[in-house]
Amino acid sequence: MDKMPKWADVVLIPLISLILAALLSALVILGIGEDPIAAVKLMVSGALGSTYGWGYTLYYATNFLFTGLAVSVAFHARLFNIGGEGQAMLGGLGVALVCLYIPWPHWSLALIFASLGAALFGAAWAAIPAYLQAKRGSHIVITTIMFNFIAAAVLNYVLVNLLRPVGSMDPATARFPEAVHLPSLHELLAPLGIAFSKSAPANVSFVLAIVACFAVWLLIWRTKLGYEIRAYGNSEPGALYAGISPVKITMIAMLISGGLAGMMATNNVMGEAERLVLNSTEGAGFIGIAVALMGRSHPFGVFLAAILFGFLYQGGAELALWTSIPRELIVVIQALVILFTGALDNMVRVPLEKAFLALRREKA
């Protein structure tokens, strides 16, 4: 029997953790001599007060949706994929190759194949750690961390030595051709008569991210493979007894995870920068960890958490612009969210479970 009702596990615990993280963040803002309430107001108006703000919020959220889903899928198989950053970097390489070397007639076709390229490269980068975990028992957390660093070196080499246009000093690829330009939300919504900011980077890949959310939901809860992934994540001996191959599940879960992380590049590389630059991921792969933890590895939760972090990122940028609070405040908030929803989960859970048990005993 469950110790507490499901809604408490799904809603109450993340909410309490979030409130704790918010309170501590407020203390941090107070500590550096700023007013937390004014800061929140500025963040809300900056991130949600205009379609320009929303355009940035949704742009960041798109990145975090992909990386959050990536971490979630791995979590369901009880694998901690900390390598989303590296996989997203390689995904960027996939997107760049598809966009630069194939003459596309239309952006829609380009987007489909760029997504495939991104997913392929991301999955390939996850494949080696996955294989080593499945076959050799090498700890996937350590190998994916190492692969993040190796990815950074590979990308650096490729950009500086291979893809940099002749005569350019900048370690970046050439600009993608006009044909693969993805429509921004402004261009998508204008025919519908909805005015949306022209200069915000949110683009059609946000729709792709929502499709990915739905696809992950289908996969995890409506397919045999998803059932096997969850069964393996819940109990390896149980799954083994049921004839589920750990090697197969580890490989497949990590390939999907890496593919999702890689697909982030359709947003930041293809949708925004329109060329591949160094450090294009800007830590989004790591934010996926916070997003997945907060969203309880459920696509809908991940969606909400990604929007929240999108808001924090855009709001944080506004704060840095208008006050003396540096952007790093967001990194602190992110750390606190990971700490409370991840590592200190039991601190909230155990007293809550006790409270619900006591409540139930009283009723009985």
Binding site: L132, A153, N156, E328
Partner: protein, 322 residues
């Protein structure tokens, strides 16, 4: 081709660069031998780097800086202990959180304290650990071969470098020569057995995590007050993860950790001095040198060249049976 003096200079810089790796690696060794995974070495070093530089810059006393650095690192170590021992949370997630916490807080506090864009003022003498000249170093400089080795390579480092190298035999002795060390290793392999013997698993693990904090604190202080003069944003630059790699490379053994850290320090020193290395017709790009520690670690982890087996109970919170 490299001449002798260049070689000495590269090795000298190897020693300097290996020192923070070595301290952090030994820190991780204590923690992981006691069954607590720690991917938060980076964060603890960064926090200590900032507080040591900040206090040294404010007071002009590097020793106070060192103490402040250690204290800040101990706070984060305590947090890791709280999350992973007391609340039996996920040790890896706790480590990730600590890394981000340090990356954000250091810049936030630095900006509030010094208003220099997230850095501390440059440390002037008194605020830094100065090089120590070993006895007769100047006198023997002229002696061929052995002279430069003594006066350039061995002499002229700050006290923390010598401390780091002394920490290797000390660690080996504590872990393999004392009762505390035996129990610490046992708690990382089979905590239930230690519990049955009436020794506190929680106490031992906290002790290990705190020793880890202490050593990370010294490593961070070395970065900001000896290797460089002051704190800059993200100055650890992945050293905590290279130390982690060295720890796996060394298969959780102190003397091997020294070897691994010197090797990775050498790679850093070579990458720093030469951009691309030409071996005949083959050019080794600098990016390959940067990635080499990580590649070597993956190879070792894969078990193709001798398998790295971590402490058995590593990463598992201990639940006392009732």
């Amino acid at each position: 081709m490299m001449d002798f003096l260049t070689l000495i200079q590269v090795l000298d810089s190897t020693v300097r660069l290996a020192t923070p790796l070595l301290l952090a690696c030994l820190a991780g060794l204590f923690s992981e031998r006691a069954g607590i995974f720690d991917i938060g070495l980076e964060g603890k070093m960064l926090m200590a780097a900032f507080f040591s530089a900040a206090v040294a810059a404010t007071t002009g006393n590097v020793w106070l800086g060192l103490l402040a650095g250690i204290a800040s690192s101990l706070v984060l170590a305590g947090l890791h202990g709280l999350a992973s021992i007391t609340f039996r949370g996920n040790q890896l997630i706790s480590g990730v959180a600590i890394n981000f916490l340090a990356a954000g807080m250091t810049v936030l506090i630095a900006q509030d304290w010094f208003q220099q864009g997230g850095r501390t003022p440059s440390l002037i003498s008194g605020g830094r650990f100065e090089p120590i000249t070993l006895p007769f170093a100047n006198a023997v400089e002229g002696v061929p071969v052995l002279g430069p080795i003594y006066s350039e390579l061995l002499s002229g480092h700050s006290i923390l470098v010598y401390l780091a190298f002394l920490a290797v035999p000390a660690t080996a002795w504590i872990l393999f020569g004392t009762r505390f060390g035996l129990r610490l290793r046992a708690v990382g392999e089979n905590p239930a057995a230690v519990d049955t013997a009436g020794v506190s698993v929680v106490g031992l693990r906290y002790a290990a995590v705190m020793i880890c904090g202490l050593l990370c604190g010294i490593a961070g202080a070395y970065l900001a007050t000896a290797l460089q003069a002051g704190f800059v944003k993200d100055m650890t630059a992945g050293r905590g993860f290279i130390a982690l790699a060295a720890l796996i490379f060394a298969k959780w053994r102190p003397w091997h950790a020294l070897g691994a850290c010197l090797l990775f320090g050498l790679l850093q020193a070579v990458a720093l001095r030469f951009q691309n290395i030409e071996l005949g017709s083959i050019v080794i790009p600098v990016q390959f040198m940067d990635a080499l520690p990580y590649i070597l670690t993956v190879v070792i982890l894969a078990g193709f060249v001798g398998k790295a087996i971590p402490p058995k109970a590593g990463g598992e919170p201990y639940v006392k049976e009732r």
